[in-house]
């Protein structure tokens, strides 16, 4: 092929690429590059990233300059005669040694940053982060606060029936709250498959391995709301388990913790009160439908039919039609060796009662069974 046309095609390609970049920069969004983040470490990581980037650009420019010069000047159509050389010890030694030196120049600062990142000693606050399909659980080790954090985006937005809002797929019902200016240690684990807790603004990505605990830490400089996602493929709804962290000034954080502890206490009192009460079928069904939609529908599907071969159906199943204690037990204990986890921590006894009632009376499962919180209590603690 004619070289002039080769070059002109190449220039067209280059212009396309550049206009791409220009368009993206033009609109002023930060969706082109890594964010520097909000901790000293994340800023160091950003610095390393940019250093590496410029070194790579420099290498590419040097190598491709030689190559393109050769393509322009040393071509047959211009009458170039091939030279005869095919070895040169000096050149070959130089281009082995020089990259080596560049590598050391990059590796040393990277190693120092890495050693800092892995030093989890002397934390001010410790949070146990537990991943499970497909939600996060946060437990403050020094306080009486723990809760689940699940996707808050409505199904209607995901299914394109509603307009998608600004934080689509990056919003949760209850974010993790941490204080600024304190060393926060995260203990990270999983209840089922491997997840990965990724908060880009803290430069933390750590796998949550079932049966093992990983550690990571951060010290956030700026109050704000920070968003991340699960980074390790963890099954069907891997794309739907975001992470939101709210960093507050220490005083506000302390107030938040006190408030949460009070809420937790009230919830326990309420639970005790509900044990002695009976709810009506209508109340149970409407609460049960809500709980089912938020917790169970991800696997057993909104219509109760499950996913054949992956997640069993509840509609018409023997478990949901006959065996009441078995039905309750699988929810509070889970089913070892399967995806069915224990929900005893995530749901209150009245919520479990409602969802069991719902599952036994929805989608044509017309058993008429009514299950109350005290029935759950009986199974869980063996008392009436």
């Amino acid at each position: 092929m004619k070289f002039s046309s080769f070059i002109s095609y190449m220039s067209v390609l280059l212009i396309v690429c550049l206009s791409f970049a220009a368009q993206a920069i033009d609109t002023g969004r930060s969706n082109l590059n890594m964010r520097p983040g909000v901790s000293d470490i994340s800023n160091q990581v950003y610095g390393l990233h940019m250093l590496m980037f410029y070194v790579c650009i420099a290498i590419a420019v040097v190598v491709f300059t030689f190559m393109f010069y050769s393509m322009v000047v040393h071509r047959k159509s211009k009458g170039a005669k091939a030279a005869n050389f095919h070895e040169n010890l000096t050149v070959e030694v130089v281009w082995t040694i020089v990259p080596f030196a560049i590598l050391i120049f990059m590796a040393v600062p990277a190693a120092y940053t890495l050693i800092d990142m892995e030093d989890v000693s002397k934390p001010d606050v410790t949070v146990l982060v537990t991943g499970s399909q497909w939600k996060w659980h946060y437990k403050y080790m020094d306080n009486d606060v723990e809760y689940f954090s699940v996707l808050a985006t409505e199904q209607g937005q995901i299914r394109n029936q509603l307009t998608k809002t600004q934080n689509y797929l990056l919003e949760v019902d209850r974010p993790l709250v941490i204080p600024t200016g304190k060393k926060i240690r995260f203990l990270i684990t999983s209840d089922d498959v491997i997840h990965s807790w990724w908060m880009p603004d803290f430069a933390i990505k750590k796998d949550a391995n079932p049966g093992f605990i990983n550690e990571a830490w951060t010290n956030v400089n700026t109050p704000g709301v920070y968003r991340g996602q699960c980074a390790e493929l963890c099954g069907k709804d891997h794309g739907f388990m975001p992470i939101v962290v709210v960093a507050k000034e220490p005083a506000q954080y302390d107030a938040w913790v006190a408030e949460q502890e009070a809420i937790a206490q009230r919830a326990r009192d309420e639970e005790q009160r509900l044990l002695s009460m009976n709810m009506s079928m209508d109340e149970l069904m409407s609460q049960g439908e809500k709980v089912y939609g938020a917790v169970c529908a991800a696997c057993h599907m909104p219509n109760g039919e499950g996913l054949p071969g992956v997640f069993p159906a509840l509609k018409g199943s023997a478990l949901a039609l006959e065996d009441i204690p078995g039905h309750i037990r699988i929810i509070v204990e889970g089913s070892p060796g399967t995806s069915m986890a224990s929900f005893a921590k995530q749901l209150t006894m009245s919520e479990i009662a409602a969802v069991v009632t719902y599952e036994r009376n929805a989608w044509g499962n017309d058993t008429g069974d009514i299950v109350q919180a005290k029935d759950i209590n009986a199974i869980m603690y063996g008392k009436e």
């Binding site: 790579c56 990505k205 990983n214 996602q229 980074a231």
Partner: protein, 546 residues
């Protein structure tokens, strides 16, 4: 000495089935007493037939795997769930990866090895022709099993091509058993292919073809074959443990029974990293054949190319941990794997420098294979440089499991491995068919592929850095614009390959101008000394290499 004796044996063996061959008998081999029609292909032990089978199989798998990529890109065209459900989306990403790695790239290289290695070293055939037949013909069954699992209740494998436990054990669908079985068959096929390559190269070189005279494609394949034999059994072990963990109550990867899920990743990546080089070393060999031809100049630094290939192969065994920096490995290991990984860039850099030095003060022309080779050098280098960035552990914490990684490995595998395969096909196709392929179509194929592949993969760097995880069926709104472009690039790249299909079909019908035995002005090597098209049997009398 050894080689002469062995070629005679191999000649005797062939005489059983195919008793007459003449080097002028080139156009039509149906007149043999050899089997006819379908049984010719089923029963063939001829390295050229088997090479053709491998290449067609790889191409079909490339289109099937590509169709799955189209499903993925269609779903990701816009935010929200439109076309497929998340569970099916995961099956598409998983099977796309498995098919492209084991069904497209690896068989394509094996096909090229079958066709070219005997012709490049002056051997009449592969050393073990019947095993050669067997190693090809089990492959279609492996992929039939894998693809049929998609239609099972619960669907096919949905745990990523890396099948991390326990997602692939306790939490997978029952079709996992089929997945395991099909991976076993693929592994057996690869190992047999590798044994054949090694035995052929060790024993059947023409007199005078010393190791340091072998063409680089032969050298890189020899080293690749050793890598295959070393690591395919490790993969077999990994899938077997997944099988017993899922169905027979063992706990290799289950902490509750004393196992460790991270152990799976160590085993998988001990296979997986050499596997990556299995898919790129033959590409280095191809580029090292093509660049000297169209620069009309000897390859610069032949010896250092051989040593660099060996060095890359050895390093591939001590860098697997760089896939696992976020698993919580101790900081000392992270530093070790970071340094070891960065070292890989030294021999790889030597290769790129050698290619540029080969072009330097050459007499360059831009035929189709050279255009693909130049695109390879530029785009593979981009993939190599992003690989260097990924080696830096603190930065890798940010890159890991994002589209930045997807961009990286598609640059080295698509614009790297697959572009090299296309370069090789264009380079040797006239030798195979005796006719020049349709150059206009080839140019369309090249330019459409080159533009679309960059529209497809380059913006993935941006969305990855901005925080988009990989393997998700739906994404936050700030990634929407780039994903639209990526999908458009993906569809265009997919369609561009249909041009290639048309070109290959035309070439197989022997349309086009006849070519000389040398085909390309400047081509050197034994394969260019035999007529075009290459006769059914070549080098029954070994040539003497000076």
């Amino acid at each position: 000495m050894v080689s002469t004796t062995d070629t005679t044996h191999s000649g005797d063996r062939d005489a059983d089935t195919q008793d007459h061959v003449a080097s002028d008998h080139i156009d039509d081999h149906h007149h043999h007493e050899a089997p006819y029609g379908i049984s010719r292909w089923l029963l063939t032990t001829n390295h050229k037939d088997i090479g053709t089978l491998y290449l067609w199989f790889a191409f079909i798998m490339f289109l099937v795997g590509g169709a799955m990529a189209m499903v993925i890109r269609a779903e990701l065209f816009q935010p929200g769930l439109q076309i497929v459900e998340p569970n099916f989306f995961n099956q598409m990403t998983t099977v796309h990866g498995l098919i492209m790695v084991f069904g497209a790239v690896m068989p394509a290289f094996t096909g090229l090895a079958n066709w070219m290695i005997p012709m490049m070293i002056g051997a009449p055939d592969m050393a073990l022709p019947r095993m050669n037949n067997w190693s090809f013909w089990i492959l279609p069954f492996a992929f039939l099993i894998l693809l049929s699992s998609l239609f099972m209740e619960g669907g096919g494998p949905a745990f990523g091509w890396t099948f991390y436990a326990p997602l692939s054990t306790t939490y997978s669908s029952d079709s996992t058993a089929l997945f395991v079985f099909s991976v076993h068959i693929m592994g057996i096929s690869s190992i047999m292919g590798a044994i054949n390559v090694i035995v052929t190269i060790f024993n059947m070189r023409a007199p005078g073809m010393t190791y340091m005279k072998m063409p680089l494609f032969v050298w890189t394949w020899l080293i690749t074959a050793f890598l295959l034999i070393a690591v395919m059994p490790v993969l077999a072990a990994a899938v077997t443990m997944v099988l017993t963990d899922k169905f027979f109550g063992t706990s290799f990867f289950d902490a509750a029974g004393g196992g460790d899920p991270v152990l799976f990743q160590h085993i998988f990546w001990f296979f997986g990293h050499p596997e990556v080089y299995i898919m790129i070393l033959p590409a280095f060999g191809i580029i090292s054949q093509i660049v000297p031809t169209f620069s009309r100049k000897k390859l610069f630094g032949y010896a250092s190319m051989v040593y660099a290939t060996g060095a890359i192969a050895l390093l591939s065994f001590i860098v697997w941990g760089h896939h696992m920096f976020t698993t919580g490995m101790p900081v000392e290991y992270e530093i070790f794997f970071m340094f070891a990984t960065m070292l890989v860039s030294v021999p790889t850099g030597v290769k790129v420098f050698n290619w540029v030095a080969t072009m330097w003060r050459g007499s360059i022309s831009f035929e189709i294979p050279m255009m693909f080779a130049i695109a390879f050098i530029v785009l593979f280098t981009i993939g190599g440089l992003s690989g260097l960035m990924l080696a830096i552990v603190p930065a890798d914490f940010q890159y890991h499991d994002t589209y930045f990684v997807v961009a990286h490995f598609h640059y080295v595998l698509v614009t790297g491995a697959i572009f090299s395969i296309m370069a090789a096909v264009y380079y040797w196709l006239p030798k195979w068919t005796g006719k020049m392929f349709d150059i206009t179509l080839a140019k369309w194929h090249f330019w459409c592929s080159l533009v679309s592949v960059n529209v497809l993969f380059f913006p993935m760097h941006f969305v990855g850095l901005a925080g988009m995880p990989r393997r998700i069926p739906d994404y936050a709104l700030q990634f929407a614009d780039f994903n639209k472009w990526i999908s458009v690039g993906g569809f265009a790249f997919g369609l561009s390959q249909l041009i290639f299909l048309a070109l290959i079909i035309k070439a197989c019908r022997h349309q086009g101008e006849s070519v000389s035995s040398q085909v390309w002005d400047g081509a050197e090597g034994l394969e260019w000394e035999i007529p075009s098209p290459a006769p059914y049997h070549t080098f029954e009398t070994p040539p003497i290499v000076r």
